[in-house]
């Protein structure tokens, strides 16, 4: 009993001292962490792929289990921050399995401090929506759609920052 009490006190002291040392920024980051990801079916995602406002949208289809997707994600994040003032918005459409949203996707977003909006696309009948998103898309990940009003370009490929920026520039006039 006494022993338990001692270890409890020790843990409490340890926690307390840790808490004291957390810098202010880390706390803000802590608050910024997300707990949920919006899950959409294709009908719900569709409006996000054909907005008619003044923004240029860079939509990346990815998943945490897709290694080439994870590798190129920082470039999309960078595009999102560097071109924010130029009316560019990045949307990350995750194709993770719904049962792995809480175990893989959300921890990934928090760990990597992902700033772009992430939504989960969870729908069957892939044949219909893959063809609807782009007729040339085979369904392989990663894939990217850049659009501005009715001008659209689809890429079934991986990107480095420079290539992505060059493609985006074609939309910036």
């Amino acid at each position: 009993m006494v022993q338990k009490l001692i270890s409890f006190t020790l843990i409490a002291v340890f926690l307390f001292s840790c808490k004291k040392e957390i810098p202010k920024e880390a706390l803000t980051k802590e608050i910024a962490k997300i707990a949920t990801v919006k899950s959409l079916n294709y009908e719900q995602l569709k409006p996000l792929l054909e907005k008619q406002d003044d923004k240029i949208y860079v939509v990346n289809f990815w998943a945490t289990w897709c290694a080439p997707c994870v590798k190129e994600l920082p470039y999309f994040e960078k595009i999102g921050s560097e071109y924010k003032s130029k009316n560019v918005e990045v949307l990350l459409v995750s194709l993770d399995f719904p049962k792995q949203v809480s175990t893989k996707l959300i921890p990934f977003i928090n760990k990597n401090n992902i700033q772009s909006e992430v939504v989960l696309l969870d729908d069957f009948n892939e044949d219909i929506w893959i063809k609807a998103i782009d007729a040339t898309w085979s369904g392989a990940l990663p894939a990217t759609l850049i659009y501005h009003k009715n001008k659209r370009k689809f890429y079934e490929q991986t990107f480095d920052y420079e290539t992505l920026e060059n493609e985006l520039k074609q939309f910036l006039n």
Partner: protein, 202 residues
């Protein structure tokens, strides 16, 4: 010096673009005649399509160990083989990934996975990644149904209409296609799509 550098970069860019565009545009289309291949199976024996004297056709599936979409389809692939091998349409699975680019997709790993899942079909290793580009496979899983008599491609695409969740499948593309071929009927859907993992090469 600067010009050399930019020429090099330009050349690299051109090469990269061609690599991307040829990857999906080339390869067999519906109605194309396929070349036989000769690949090593997990039992260390070489498998050729011409070895199958009694087959009426083949359900060729590019798949692998590591892709979650492939894993989600393993039981369905076993079920396809169980249903159609005796009817003359065996499953032939091919792992197109270069293990150097995809850890866990090596030949020895394939043996382990096949044993764990009790694969009833050959699971071939595309050594040197020479066969999958001929098909134009772009991802795993990716199915090609071939008619043995003509060696023509009859179907390209997904196994069914819900690759990640078998509980909501409402249309079995591969079964419908093979059933049509067995009945001497026209295949209703010859090309379908599903999400998959990019084929991993260096």
């Amino acid at each position: 010096m600067k010009t050399i550098k930019s020429t090099l970069i330009l050349a690299m860019l051109i090469l990269m673009t061609t690599a991307f565009s040829t990857r999906t545009e080339n390869g067999y289309k519906i109605g194309d005649t396929i070349e036989d291949f000769s690949l090593k199976n997990i039992d260390d024996k070489i498998v050729k399509l011409s070895d199958y004297k009694k087959a009426k056709g083949f359900i060729i599936i590019f798949t692998c160990n590591m892709c979650p979409y492939s894993v989600a389809n393993e039981d369905r692939i076993n079920a396809l083989d169980a249903k159609y091998k005796s009817k003359g349409f065996p499953v032939i699975a091919i792992n197109p990934n270069d293990p150097k680019a995809s850890k866990g997709d090596g030949f020895e790993d394939m043996k382990v996975r096949a044993k764990e899942k009790g694969f009833t079909f050959p699971y071939l290793f595309d050594e040197g990644q020479k066969v999958y580009p001929k098909f134009g496979a772009s991802k795993t899983p990716h199915v090609y149904i071939v008619n043995k008599k003509s060696m023509k491609v009859e179907y390209i695409g997904a196994i069914d209409n819900s690759s990640k969740d078998p509980s909501v499948v409402s249309e079995k593309y591969v079964e419908n296609a093979v059933d049509a071929l067995l009945a001497g009927k026209k295949i209703e859907k010859t090309e379908t799509k599903a999400i998959g993992c990019t084929i991993k090469v260096l």
